[in-house]
Amino acid sequence: MKTRHAATEPGPVFRIGLALLLFAITAGLALALLAEPVAPGVAGQVEAALGDSGAKNHVTAVLLNFRGYDTLLELAVLTSALVGVWALGVAPDIKETTPSPVLLGMNSVLIPLAPLFCAYLLWAGASRPGGAFQAGAVLAAAAVLYNISCRRPELRLPSAPLRPGIVIGLGVFIATGFGVMGGGRAFMEYPAGLAGGLILLIETAATLSIALILASLFVGGRPEGEP
């Protein structure tokens, strides 16, 4: 076994060549990094426009208002990954297992806490660290914990509301973008007074979708019976 492997493994010449190449690439990137910047970033402009953005947290303002289009496409990436995983086949099953009592005990505390923590992150995201993606991930983590500590390992989400739940985040994002367009405003140009509320609406829907998508990605395939 060993000898056959040895014959097909990349040889020392290849490794040395690769190491030299990587050294050259890293050195080149480092040189560009150390050069004096020509112009400062847009931090100042973010600060100046923060009042109109509907969020006090700079990062949330960038993510959901100034560069909200990036975030919209990013949700599309997440959704398309799930569609791709579902297209690959039905979820593989894990063999039934007996989880440790410690895990079960911890879960009985952690899983009920997760929605609370999620709601906090979502609400805090406007002014303090937090936001839709973190909140959605926490919710998904709770689902994953439930999934692996359950005696029946399959995450039996009822399949009928699953699809609407998966698309609602992106759907609300796009619909809000169109909805604000009256009165000469552009796509996703939130009116100053409404921006805070609209961002919270988008984030809430996104949180739900992100949680469902991440949990479904963990399941690793489409539920039995889904087309």
Binding site: V59, T97, P99
Partner: protein, 95 residues
């Protein structure tokens, strides 16, 4: 060099070491656990860089869910005999 910078240097070195270990260990399970540790060290780096939002996202998604996904895939690979390791190590995603 003040204390903060010394701490940062240490953090970067640990980060590089954990990354290297996660990619070169012979035991795939160990690799994945080290990768989760890598995500947690990285989220400390985000805190040091003044990016708490990124730190939260990294810990929850980069370390937690990615780790859970990797462990689940590892456990489902054909030729596995002990599936229980998945459950034993599943707690890593509770951040």
């Amino acid at each position: 060099m003040n204390t903060g910078q010394a701490l940062d240097l240490l953090l970067v070195l640990v980060l590089l070491w954990v990354a290297w270990a996660a990619l070169s260990s012979r035991d795939l399970f160990r690799c994945i656990v080290l990768f989760i540790a890598f995500g947690l060290v990285l989220s400390m780096a985000w805190v040091r860089l003044g990016a708490p939002d990124v730190a939260l996202a990294e810990a929850a998604i980069g370390a937690g869910l990615a780790g859970a996904l990797l462990l689940a895939t590892w456990a489902r690979l054909p030729g596995k005999t002990e599936d229980s390791k998945l459950d034993a190590k599943g707690e890593d995603d509770e951040d």
